[in-house]
Symmetry: C2
Subunit: 307 residues, 2 copies
Amino acid sequence: MPVTVVGSIAFDAIKTPFGERERILGGAATHFSLAASFFTDVRVVGPVGDDFGEEEYAVLHGRGVNTEDIEHVEGGKTFFWAGEYEYDFNTAKTLDTQLNVFGDFQPKLSEGSTSAELLFLANIQPDLQREVREQCTGAQIAGLDSMNYWIQSARDSLVRTIGMVDILFLNDAELRMLTEEPNLVRATRKVMDMGPRVIVAKQGEYGAALFTGDGFFALPAFPLETVVDPTGAGDSFAGGFLGYLDSAGRSLDDGTLRRAMTYGSTLASFWVEEFGSERGQRLTREEIDERYEKFRSITTIESVPTA
Amino acid sequence: MPVTVVGSIAFDAIKTPFGERERILGGAATHFSLAASFFTDVRVVGPVGDDFGEEEYAVLHGRGVNTEDIEHVEGGKTFFWAGEYEYDFNTAKTLDTQLNVFGDFQPKLSEGSTSAELLFLANIQPDLQREVREQCTGAQIAGLDSMNYWIQSARDSLVRTIGMVDILFLNDAELRMLTEEPNLVRATRKVMDMGPRVIVAKQGEYGAALFTGDGFFALPAFPLETVVDPTGAGDSFAGGFLGYLDSAGRSLDDGTLRRAMTYGSTLASFWVEEFGSERGQRLTREEIDERYEKFRSITTIESVPTA
């Protein structure tokens, strides 16, 4: 304890077939922090502008997130993203991206953040992720997220960054793109050769798969009748995963990782039920543990009765 | 006992990134029969031409499949399909389809076949499927497969046929297309309102999900480093599923259905390792049961240790 997360803090405008929001609190670091806060202490690192005020801080503080390393850039504006989803929730159509204060972001972490035992590098430019990893000398375990954009535009830097982390979160298409290997099992093996001991292949509505040295585990997504907005699903997954992992002593044994997968999927399943982090903001640990048990029951296979 | 399957018996020409076969035994009923034969007695019903000879019968007889109701059409040619897969194994590109003897197929089932307790209607024209369902008065349980082509070209007939079966096998895109409902949970509920008590949503490389009245179960695909040819995956899945179900007394309780799902996925996982049914032809029950246990181990979630 605690967990440090570095990444975007944002305002989002989101439109889906189920409604829209013109301006809600978003950003990878925000979603991660709120999700992880159900399991452990969280410190969030990232820049915001003058438009980021009491109301936004209150959401984070309401979940006990430490915001000491949120950097307020005087005269700046907070990162803004506008996106739209159609019925295929797997891909967002970006309508507008305004980097604003994020454009000149140089992470400066306080000692409280650099000494955290667990670090999550949310999806930002891989050079910045590496810089943060180097600063965080206390981190026994580092997790990383990235995206197709960096695979295409900054591959070498991303590969170096991947070499410095323990747990990589990517979706399966990105793992294939990164390795130019269509078979997912082979692709993850190639990525493990780059450094990470654990690969989480996110598969959207199909759930997620976990690859370790010689281990494999897969979990479906929780069956939901209503998916309103997938924004933040990946980051809330990572938050539930790494938050639980930290609370369980950061052991990377099989049983702990499987439970982390299940908590990650549980958090993501709540996240997509409403816009942005709205569901997460009024979630309880009891609801989480109840859904965790449902996950167990919908995936249990009995052995074959002997005749 | 036994299980009757009605559907195509074919010769296939298949090309994938891993090689090709110019002419191998194929067809939905063939793949189903071979897979189901590991669990129960199977009777296969369908037409063949003069080109279907000793060698092909030997494959079926080698697995104990009863071929009494294979209808030999004098002077005819067996159904032929040529297809190609690229690295995305989810969709085949059809290069050639020659219906041949299948064009005039009118199912005539012997009493041995109509009295079978379990019936599988493989993917053929839904009017024919209904005719077979009506003939098979002994069938306590009927399973059905279909495809996007019939949803588009014969929707009303297909819906009537769906109303006469107990277990429906479709891929998730087809379930959405059939119901015009993008959410899979809602789509399966709509399909259950048409009649079936059990819906199996096939999801290709992501596995399969099982929907019953108020139950849900999902299983990933077995992680394979080498997928050579997906032809027959769906039919070998149905064969493993229904073959096991028959051997287990055709109970549709949750535990039995989950085991059926696991056996279905197990058979499909072997099937795709080689071209057509080549792997299935030299498969053993021991290998099947071993992989079944691996499936259990890669999906098991432990409960959270209490503090």
